[in-house]
């Protein structure tokens, strides 16, 4: 493996930015945002430089590593803080720093009226650094550090406007649900260490062949729990909708493009574990399939533009998870969808932010309408992202999503048919809710509040949107041209022995997918464009809509199954603690106290009675000795 000594700059630059802004305090208010943006951009520059170096090396020499320092060294157990940059991590590095830099630029304008803009940029830089550590760590333990770092940054940024109690609660909810996933990751690391004695990616990969399938399945399932927590996958998906409480650039960067894809990264990075544990792999597929439908269904009923996009994110990550669960053939497609999704979803979120910027931070789409004329650039960039997520050729989503649908059908048998149909229906529902978002926001009649004065955003905001829109258009073609990404990742995900002919011709799959998308678009068109849309959500809706509006009861379920019993358990434990443990301690004190008060009666202050007691005592003592001796 190639030894590099420049990898650390990728992380060190944004980390230094965060440190300077946080420690520098108000002194950095004036230029803090510029520094943070420069740090992120230079990190992107280092990433490009690393990519160039990598391309210069022969395939087997491409992964580069750097040892930072000896971290843990206890007996046989040795973990170095080391970085590993291979074909997989470089994709993430460029996505994180690239999209991250664009969003830094966007935020300069978006957050310009916020008095805490410096703190915002410090957190953004902290996030970039943690996320890079996550994808660059060369062992599960190093990854874990970054994993927790992004969790912290996410928490801080969701609750950035924590003066609103609902936002503070949302950040806490995200943090707590992420902790459940983190627990899975720590269990996975512990099991890996117990069975294999190593936690580095290389070490685990070497040990897989000598490890029992049961242990591998356990590791795989625990990694899946971790992935589900971070990527908002079923059953730990409930936090993502509320995470939209954060400023919109945060939703774009962390809760759409990068952090929420960390779960997919974890699964693809651990491909050697999942390949050897078919059961865990099957569960991954099931989780992905459930989540993609779950998110899509929630998306159909949301009137909050950001929550609709969040549901869509959940659904799209479901696609990625599903692809990642399909084994070696799917990993590359999962990553491809992740990259294209990073472009078009970040672009759409920034578009949503731009709309909110012009509409007094209104998020209810029923209060939008006819914004096309007032925000032409936002409309075009959002529209390109829309076409990309729908999977219309030649936009990005067409390449990545179709490949996933094809791979799902190729899984063969009943599994293939179920997964294929699920992904197709998902695509159709995606088309429906995204068309709904488009129609409600940009076309139709004005349904604004009276004080709304929609206007196009400044160039600092639309420039990143435009660049991301270009990515939404071209990234799919560029990544799939001549199987570019697949070949690039080939050394990591060797699937030559699993290669099989497509069960259904790709052109037929594309045809089916486009038909389903067309149906979804048509339904949305007739429902929202041909009919008047009311500016308040109608109440006389079917039970399905009501359930979908409430996020398919995910919060109620969590509340009934986990929160209430948890509360009951803690109440019981508190009562037991007070009665038994505290009771014993207090009981001892009480006995001492009451016997003390009883004996206190003897202290009557009369010297003569003391003397009498001494006398009686002395006599009693003598009598006792007498009895004992004789």
């Amino acid at each position: 493996m190639f030894i590099s000594n420049t990898l650390v700059y990728l992380i060190a630059l944004p980390l230094a930015g965060a440190a300077i802004l946080l420690l520098g305090g108000r002194r950095t208010n004036k230029w803090g945002h510029l520094l943070a943006t420069a740090m992120s951009a230079s990190s992107f520059g280092v990433g490009l430089y690393q990519l160039m170096l990598m391309l210069d090396r022969p395939t087997e020499q491409r992964p580069a590593s750097q040892k930072l320092f000896e971290w843990i060294h206890v007996g046989e157990f040795k973990v170095d803080a080391g970085l590993l940059l291979d074909q997989l991590s470089i994709c993430f590095v460029l996505l994180i720093t690239g999209v991250g830099t664009l969003i830094h630029i966007y935020s300069i304008s978006y957050m310009s009226h916020d008095k805490d803009r410096r703190r915002f940029f410090a957190y953004l830089n902290l996030f970039i650094a943690s996320m890079l550590l996550l994808v660059l760590g060369d062992s599960y333990l190093n990854l874990y550090v970054g994993w927790e770092g992004v969790g912290l940054a996410s928490y801080l940024l969701i609750g950035f406007w924590n003066q609103k109690p609902a936002y503070a609660t949302a950040s806490k909810k995200a943090f707590v649900m992420n902790r459940v996933g983190d627990m899975g990751l720590s269990f996975a690391i512990m099991i890996a260490f117990a069975t294999m004695g190593t936690v580095s990616f290389v070490g685990v990969q070497e040990q897989v062949s000598q490890t029992s399938e049961a242990a591998l399945t356990a590791i795989g399932l625990m990694l899946l729990v971790a992935a589900a927590g971070k990527s908002a996958q079923f059953p730990l998906q409930a936090w993502l909708g509320d995470a939209m409480a954060g400023p919109t650039p945060v939703s774009a960067l962390i809760h759409a493009a990068t952090m929420v894809t960390a779960g997919v990264y974890l699964i693809t990075r651990s491909n050697f574990v999942f390949d050897a544990a078919p059961t865990a792999q099957l569960v991954v597929v099931i989780v992905g399939a459930i989540t993609l439908m779950f998110g899509a269904l929630i998306g159909t009923a949301k009137d909050d533009i950001k929550k609709a996009l969040a549901a869509s994110t959940m659904s799209q990550i479901g696609y990625m998870t599903l692809a990642a669960g399909l084994g070696p053939v799917g990993y590359a497609f999962a990553i491809m969808h992740l990259l294209t999704h990073g472009f078009f979803k970040a672009g759409m979120f920034l578009g949503a932010g731009s709309v909110m910027h012009g509409m007094n931070d209104e998020v209810n789409m029923r209060k939008y309408g006819a914004l096309r004329k007032f925000m032409p650039i936002t409309f075009v960039t959002f529209g390109l992202g829309y076409l990309a997520i729908l999977g219309i050729p030649p936009f990005a989503g067409f390449y990545s999503k179709d490949l996933i649908i094809e791979t799902a059908f190729d899984a063969g048998g009943a599994k293939g048919i179920i997964l294929g149909i699920t992904t197709l229906i998902g695509a159709s529902i995606t088309a429906f809710y995204m068309t709904r978002v488009m129609i409600l926001t940009f076309t139709g009649t004005k349904r604004w509040d009276e004080d709304a004065h929609p206007h196009e955003s400044p160039w600092l905001m639309w420039l990143p949107m435009a660049i991301l829109a270009i990515g939404s258009v071209s990234s799919g073609y560029l990544l799939s041209r001549g199987d570019a990404l697949e070949n690039w990742l080939y050394p990591l995900f060797d699937h030559s022995d699993e290669y099989q002919k497509h069960l259904i011709e790709p052109i037929i799959v594309s045809g089916m997918a486009l038909t389903m998308v067309a149906i979804g678009v048509a339904v949305a068109y007739f429902k929202y464009a041909r009919q008047e849309v009311s500016s308040t959500a109608p109440e006389d809706v079917s039970i399905f809509t009501k359930v979908a509006r409430q996020d398919l009861m995910q919060d109620r379920f969590n509340e009934a199954v986990f929160m209430r019993p948890g509360q009951a358990l803690t109440t019981t434990l508190i009562a037991a603690d007070q009665a038994v443990v505290d009771g014993a301690v207090r009981g001892v004190g009480q006995v001492a106290l009451s016997s003390g008060s009883a004996l206190r009666g003897l202290q009557n202050g009369y010297v003569r009675s003391y003397a009498a007691i001494i006398l009686v005592g002395a006599i009693a003592l003598i009598a006792a000795i007498w009895v004992v001796v004789s």
């Binding site: 202290q603 010297v607 003569r608």
Partner: protein, 99 residues
Amino acid sequence: MDASNYLYISALLFTIGAVGVVVRRNAIVVFMCIELMLNAANLSLVTFSRINGDLDGQVMAFFTMVVAACEVVVGLAIIVAIYRSRRSASVDDASLLKR
């Protein structure tokens, strides 16, 4: 003469002293009763010294006298101080230490 008679007298004196301490209220009298008890003890010590034919008991008696002398000095001073501040030499009046 039988040495045990001295012991009887000693026991008698001690009992008188003890009863006096318990029943009398006047601090001076209580004090004298304490002296009586000390001297009863001294008498016993000297008698045992006589019975055993060695000087241990007599040495102990001297010790007792020295301690008793010190005690008289301190005790009388306390009694005088109490009398000055409270105009009473009754031990029952000096009962502020009760609960």
